[in-house]
């Protein structure tokens, strides 16, 4: 299957480089073809791949690399470093308000927003905050019930007003409720929607302007393909996101969409979801993601053996 052979192919390409004393531009070109393929198979966006390969090629054909004693390793190092840099370099933290902090989770249908709302609440409570979950999805069948069950599992209060009140009014009222109940973080779960659905995108804008969240987080399924770019660009243009959360990373997807989203929106990826349980949340690590996208874990260990 594509993915198995991918790491192998990369290893082959780098092995070829390693075997050589000095590299020619042609050697680099050939290796870059494999890198390009690896990124495409990992679902990194086509345009992002193009730019990336161009940039790495330029660096790799610089004199330090071509004249170094271990050119193969140098190229691998450049690829890995550049990917990590593209992924944002280091961990990005959440921002908090001096009074009540609002967070808003947005994204396509089924991305994992409701589950993530619960995970975030649990994560924050462990850090001595008092979160309130807000059920602002009035459209999906049993969405409110789902959040209520999630809240119950982790013993976090859930604010709901049924499905006859507008999400904007629910969000507004939740801030008042949080004040009364002594909660200091409000996490608003919104309905999944398409980025091209103007009406529903406007609804998000209204929620945002009425509660002024410190974080507007786009929740993205790590298995998303090339369309991740269009989606994240649209959400970012409408809502000026503060960050991204990747879900379903417990699968065996390479998650190249992550790279594209970061590149296109310029917004950091803050967390990843790694399972269906409420504790399955991790702070996002750019360097690990970079390795994962290329299957670098295998490649790097192979290089080190040499």
């Amino acid at each position: 299957m594509a993915f198995d052979s991918l790491a192998e192919r990369l290893q082959e390409a780098f092995k070829k480089l390693r075997g050589k004393g000095k590299l020619t531009e042609n050697d680099i070109k050939e290796a870059m073809r494999e890198v390009r393929l690896a990124l495409l198979e990992a679902d990194v966006n086509f345009k992002v791949v193009k730019n990336f390969v161009k940039k790495v090629s330029e660096k790799a054909t610089g004199s330090e690399v071509l004249e170094s004693l271990t050119p193969g390793q140098q190229v691998v190092k450049i690829v890995n470093e550049e990917l990590t840099a593209l992924m944002g370099g280091s961990e990005a933290k959440l921002s908090f308000d001096s009074s009540i902090t609002a967070f808003m989770l947005v994204g396509l249908q089924g991305a994992g927003k409701t589950t993530m709302a619960g995970k975030l609440a649990l994560h924050l409570r462990k850090r001595n905050r008092k979160p309130l979950l807000v059920a602002a999805d009035i459209y999906r069948p049993a969405a409110i019930k789902q959040l209520q069950i999630v809240g119950k599992q982790i013993d976090i209060p859930v604010f709901a007003m049924g499905d006859k009140v507008s999400p904007v009014d629910i969000a507004k009222a939740s801030m008042e409720y949080a004040r009364k109940e002594g909660c200091d973080v409000v996490i608003v779960d919104t309905a999944g929607r398409l980025h091209i659905d103007e009406e529903l995108m406007n609804e998000l804008k209204s929620i945002k302007s009425s509660i002024r969240p410190m974080e507007t987080l786009l929740v993205v399924d790590a298995m998303t393909g090339q369309d991740a770019v269009n989606v994240s660009e649209s959400f970012n243009n409408s809502l000026d996101l503060t960050g991204v959360i990747l879900t379903k990373l417990d699968g065996d997807t390479r998650g190249g969409a992550a790279l594209s989203i970061r590149e296109v929106t310029g917004k950091p990826i803050k967390f990843s979801g790694v399972g269906e349980k409420m504790s399955d949340l991790e702070v996002f690590h750019p360097e690990r993601m970079a390795s994962r996208i290329l299957g670098m874990g295998d490649v790097l260990s192979l290089i080190e053996q040499a």
Binding site: A2, L40, M223
Partner: protein, 301 residues
């Protein structure tokens, strides 16, 4: 399936118009049929999630077609590529037939649209005059049973359910008995979303399938894999793993009302020969259509 087109067109906002039409752009700029053009067409396919290898195969087929049909004008290339794609996706013998009694096991990774598709399918079969029963065998996800129940009400069909947390195979067993006793035409089984690399969850699915085979082996038993149209290349592995435990008969490709093209089904067709049977084009009860290879090819590029 002019219908699907209408739906896509009517759903087209300016955003979508900007994103699509890539093909027209490529062909509009091209002067001759040359390597540059083939390379750009390959890009168009890759950006629709067709995947590198399958894109190469399709472009090779396109070259052949152009040679055989002696095509020389650039503006005929688009039509030729669409033909290549629709021929590639067409199914010679339609194996998926919903005749009494039919049991459909609906499976897939998390959040792809299994429960919603069951809601839509129930409505469709019911409208065709069939007696439909749903089995709520996702006993794991929060409010999954309630969600299916809402769909059962909307479609006005029966549902067999247990408590949250109970054994899904037991739900299926009960549903099969009810299906026989009530002389139903179609039984639709909703299952929990599961990633294909989770061994225990895949074993659970295998067990469900076994119960169906054992309890009602005479029925037409189908496993439908639901795939999110926005999926990338990982969907190919998903299909392979689900194939192993549940013998896939078809794919339901959902969320095609967005800007995603679902091109990954071409790669799946290439490696596993599994046909797409239905497509999902929205969240409403009527937003499900039979797959049509021609319309799909039109929408893909």
């Amino acid at each position: 399936m002019a219908n699907f087109f209408e739906k896509l067109k009517s759903g087209l906002s300016k955003t979508r118009d900007n994103i699509t039409g890539k093909m027209n752009e490529v062909l509009g700029l091209a002067m001759t049929i040359d390597e540059d053009l083939f390379e750009e067409l390959e890009e168009v396919l890759i950006t629709s999630d067709v995947g590198y290898e399958t894109s190469m195969i399709l472009i090779e087929k396109l070259r052949q077609k152009i040679r055989l049909q002696k095509i020389t004008e650039v503006d005929k290339v688009s039509g030729a590529l669409k033909e290549v794609i629709s021929e590639f996706m067409e199914d010679e013998e339609k194996k998926f037939k919903v005749e009494k009694p039919t049991i459909i096991l609906v499976i897939g990774v998390n959040g792809v649209g299994k429960t919603t598709s069951i809601g839509k399918l129930s409505h469709k079969y019911k409208k065709e005059g069939k007696k439909v029963i749903m089995a709520a065998a996702d006993t794991f996800r929060a409010a999954a049973i309630d969600q299916l129940e809402v769909w059962a009400k909307r479609a006005e069909v029966d549902i067999v359910r247990h408590q949250e947390g109970s054994d899904p195979a037991a739900v299926v067993f009960d549903a099969l008995q009810a299906f026989k006793a009530r002389n139903g035409d179609v039984l639709l089984v909703d299952t929990a979303g599961r990633l294909h690399n989770k061994k225990n969850l895949m074993n659970e699915l295998e067990k469900i399938r076994r119960v169906i085979d054992r309890e009602y082996g005479d029925a037409n038993i189908y496993s439908l894999l639901v795939l999110d149209g926005t999926s990338g290349q990982n969907a190919v592995i998903q299909a392979k793993e689900f194939q192993k435990v549940a013998q896939l008969d078809g794919i339901v490709l959902t969320k095609l009302d967005g800007t995603a093209k679902g091109g990954v089904v071409l790669s799946i067709k290439e490696s596993l020969k599994i046909p797409v049977v239905y497509i999902g084009v929205g969240e409403g009860i009527d937003d499900l259509q039979d797959f049509d290879a021609k319309a799909f090819a039109e929408a893909l590029i």
